[in-house]
Symmetry: C2
Subunit: 243 residues, 2 copies
DNA sequence: ACATTAATTATGTATAGACATAAAAGAGGG
DNA sequence: CCCTCTTTTATGTCTATACATAATTAATGT
């Protein structure tokens, strides 16, 4: 066979056709797209194949379907972006710089309220409190203060956090189901010394909490001197879909 | 029939069972789950029904499948969060405060590079340059400097931006396909006066660009005095799935 | 005229079977 | 022992059909 046959499965082609029509503006929000039986005639396939394509587009939020009425293009996307929360070590080495970690303090504390208002606090549990400094080429890049619930992550007690960054270790060892990130700007304040900047220097504060079910896992505040670090979020509108 | 039959379709139940097993920790990353023919025996259904459940979990990123080998629980989720990019007016009124908009400047400029490195600049096109101040209860809440491509959005030339916030108007009138957000911390600098704070005050800078296809639409820099504003991102890990 | 009931229609779910495809395991040949 | 070829197996795709469900339209009874 010399012809370059269509490699993509048919349901993916149908899906791509419709997705393209919506993205290009040929189909606008509220428009009705052809009925399943029309599409199956158009593509010469079974209804299940059309249905698979349309079901996928519904899950991706591009279409809405109403029985007896038909299938319609959804209203514009929810205004959200995919924000890559950085693994600091990867971030530093990714810029071709040498990463180093310093453990400034390590304590086991009785569980103060790791989670002030959101979910039930771990009663009687203990908490591992760490302060770390991340360096790039020997220059302070970020300082983090972290609490780890030893009830949720007992293994953390025996890890040598002078070797592994707590964030990387947790990421690899502890799955989480919910996370909250809070991004603020603030002066360096009492961390100015550790960061090697003036007290008034504008810094990016990244507060991050993770849970597994309703059990808190960790709460970390990372402080980046403003000049050295941006958080970047890229978003591809409707095209992105599920993945 | 007095029994409360299972309302959920079977494929959703199968999916929920597996999702639950992964979330609860009964199944860990890398574990193999039963083959399709085992699941169809277990649930007493056809293979297509099992397949639909598993395909959905693959699209949600919970499972990976390899031919001949089987179906496996995926590695921990990609570390991304859904970050709600705020509509400032909604943000202010949502806090029960009175919103007011001031247009500080308005110019039509020849198209300087709206997009320095990413995508092709609009040749010969003109750009609408706006500077706005957002106030909450009469107090400066944010200042934004915005460029709008008049080639992409010719209607913008005739809009009265003393009445409508440019961001809200664009959101309602111009669909976009790609966006990039950059979050930084920086001192207030030359905008200190407009914000009513000291020059050195730590501020949150939100740089935001949107495109439609490869045509730039707008580029805005919004500056928030650090004390008044946080960006919050919530993320529900594996549980959330596609939607 | 109005409420109730029945028919119509598009989508939702499920089935049993078929063939294609990719990857792992096994068999043979050098 | 290494390389190649064949077989096996689980997933990937697709079909044709069936019945369920929800919403609209049409028919009917009072």
């Amino acid at each position: 066979m010399s012809m370059a046959e269509n490699a993509a499965p048919l349901h993916a082609r149908i899906r791509a056709d419709i997705e393209g029509a919506i993205l290009s503006g040929a189909l606008k929000a509220g428009d009705r797209i052809p009925f399943e039986h029309e599409l199956m005639a158009q593509y010469g396939c079974a209804r299940m194949t059309v249905n698979k394509a349309l079901t996928g587009l519904v899950e991706a939020g591009l279409l809405e379907r109403r029985k007896r009425a038909g299938t319609f293009v959804s209203r514009p996307q929810i205004h959200m972006a995919a924000l890559a929360i950085p693994d600091i070590q990867a971030e530093v080495t990714g810029r071709g710089r040498i990463y180093r970690l310093e453990l400034l303090s390590r304590d086991v504390l009785p569980a103060v309220s790791v989670d002030p208002d959101r979910m039930r606090p771990p009663r009687g549990a203990k908490v591992l409190a760490l302060t770390c400094r991340h360096l790039a080429d020997g220059v302070p890049f970020a300082v983090e203060e972290r609490l780890i619930s030893l009830k949720a992550v007992p293994d953390a007690a025996s890890v040598d956090f002078t070797q592994v960054a707590p964030g990387s270790w947790l990421l690899a060892h502890v799955p989480w189901t919910e996370a909250e990130h809070r991004i603020t700007a603030a002066p360096a304040g009492r961390l100015a010394g550790a960061l090697g900047v003036d007290e008034g220097t504008a810094c990016l504060l990244l507060d991050r909490r993770t849970w597994r079910g309703d059990q808190p896992i960790t709460h970390v505040r990372q402080v980046f001197p403003g000049a050295g670090f941006d958080l970047v979020a890229r978003f591809t509108g409707a095209a992105g879909g599920a993945a």
